[in-house]
């Protein structure tokens, strides 16, 4: 396979933060459907959260992604059930292309978290109180470094250490650099064929 070189690993992500508050932020909000009429993911970054960032005349509204303080942030801090709704990978693609390398939140919708993993973006969870404190801290210290330690399941900022959680499979995939599931699974092609042939509905 063309990219079978040394696997990239994501043990930790460090950078400044940006808080986006609210529960049930769905993928239609993260990237409105009209921006998905494309055949590549290029250029999606500028449309992240578009409808809550801009008014009808495309003038910027109050939103963390518009604030000068948060430009260059790479750690997104969110609340509960973030990324619910549509399965569009365009959502994490848009966030990644805006600059996000890790998301810390109370909880994530499953498909969204899986899509993030496919891009090497950790989705780390922590308690509501810890997340709200983190969001407040980022507001007060937009230049401070937030350290998302995937391997040790911690988020560190200032003098605080948050006891966080990373899904086991996700942690292993990121820390060991094995999230390229195409390569992983492609290596088992013979076993796949055996499984396929054992099924009563296939005649492969």
């Amino acid at each position: 396979m063309s990219d079978d070189g040394p696997a990239e690993t994501v043990e930790r992500v460090s950078g400044t933060g940006v808080p986006v508050r609210g529960n049930d932020i769905d993928t239609d909000q993260i990237i409105p459907a009209r921006f998905m009429k494309v055949v590549t993911f290029d250029g999606l970054g500028e449309f992240a959260f578009f409808d809550v960032r801009f008014d009808d005349d495309d003038n910027p509204k109050e939103h963390p992604f518009n604030e000068a303080d948060f430009q260059g942030a790479s750690v997104l801090a969110v609340n509960a059930n973030f990324g619910c709704g549509s399965s569009r990978e365009h959502a994490p693609q848009a966030l990644m292309r805006w600059g996000i390398d890790a998301v810390v939140g109370e909880s994530f919708a499953e498909i969204f978290a899986g899509n993030c993993l496919a891009l090497g973006i950790p989705t780390v969870t922590a308690s509501q109180a810890d997340i709200e404190a983190l969001q407040d801290y980022i507001d007060e210290h937009p230049d401070a470094e937030i350290d998302v330690d995937v391997a040790n399941e911690e988020v560190r900022y200032g003098d605080t250490v948050i006891d966080a959680e990373v899904d086991d499979a996700q942690r292993r995939a990121l820390v060991d650099g094995v999230w390229d599931t195409t390569a992983l699974m492609g290596a088992n092609a013979d076993t796949v064929r055996e499984t396929a042939e054992s099924l009563p509905y296939t005649d492969v």
Partner: protein, 474 residues
Amino acid sequence: MSEGTLYDKVWDRHEVTELPTGQTQLFVGLHLIHEVTSPQAFGMLKERDLDVAYPERTYATVDHIVPTADQSRPYSDDAAEEMMSELEQNVRAANIDFADPTTGRQGIVHVVGPEQGLTQPGMTIVCGDSHTATHGAFGALAFGIGTSQIRDVLATGCVAMEKQKVRRIEVTGELDEGVTPKDVILQVIRKLGTDGGVGYVYEYGGEAIEEMDMAGRMSICNMSIEGGARAGYVNPDETTYEYLDGRDRVPDGEEFEELKRYWESVASDADAEYDDVVEIDGDALEPTVTWGTTPGQGIGISEAIPAPEDLPADKQESARGAQEHMDVEPGDTMAGYPIDVAFLGSCTNARLPDLREAAEVVKGHEVHDSVRAMVVPGSQRVKAAAEAEGLDDVFKEAGFDWRGAGCSMCLGMNEDQLVGDERCASSSNRNFVGRQGSKDGRTVLMSPPMVAAAAITGEVTDVRELERFEEVRA
């Protein structure tokens, strides 16, 4: 010994191996693709110089961007035309069967799969669309995937997954006249929350589910994801086998009987253990509509819209925002909420029985002056079948627009969109802000008969009262 639930059995049959991540490599029996989420995946394959591993287990259609009025090529929207052309090139190069609009088989991917008989019990089915759970209605394990996973499936015929827990949702009793599967699922999501299903697969069962036709079961499984569950299913039974018998992709004769034995074998054992069981009293349900901007914000038509402060702490803020957006007041019911648009369509509710039920309500009425109303059949076949029984005339005579098959106004990716702050009575699945194409637009989710009733009166209406009103007048 119990072999467990359908989920356990189908999972085991499709397990290839365990990956170093701890995930299972699962063989995919049917991969459905469409124009929105597949082009990037085909692009990734090209970059890596990989071929499609199982083109014969892959099936394509076009739905999200397809215009439902003028479908002549090239499409007037350049972006839509480009996506369509890209899909055509990709499926041609990979030798994948493509139900394009010239075949008479095109339609919403979750309508087309079942009606072709591609969707069968005991299969694993994936698609780059979160409403793939629809196919679970047949006792398949079906779930939505992202584009990188589509790349995985195209290249390897497999998906990497972690096994989930199973929650049995037992819908007891009998649904009243005017109460539909859509009302059941809206109440399930209301009860368990939009994230209540995270980590779970939902098994729907109980008397009310057993009595439902396949279209109804599909409506329920379809919205599993709205409750956070990536997959939902119903155990296959005689209703399932009858539906499948004679479909294009279903073999007949002894082969059918053989397959049927497999289908029967995958149903959950009577003594299967569940990680959780939830009961819904089907007798107590009434037509249900949403008052807010998530599918979990639903109420019975006679119930009062809740005051945010009466909701759990973590739901209060979103309820306040939702009530402001929708312009509704706590204490009111949703009955009487004025509407501008009536949309009957989507992968949730655009099958022939859905159209029949709505037509039954519409018959002899006219669409209210202030409403633009449209019916968008789920597939070209649904459209043809509806026309064969004259449903199109019922809708057209009443003032509905009768359109071509596609996702249409369920999401703002084609010409059918809300304008400004229009209010829409919609048989679709999501009332998210901006979902129907206008960020100020307002969506009220409901069943097809309720959409029909709203179209006639110009406001959210208890369809049962509409009928009663008719009887009195007659």
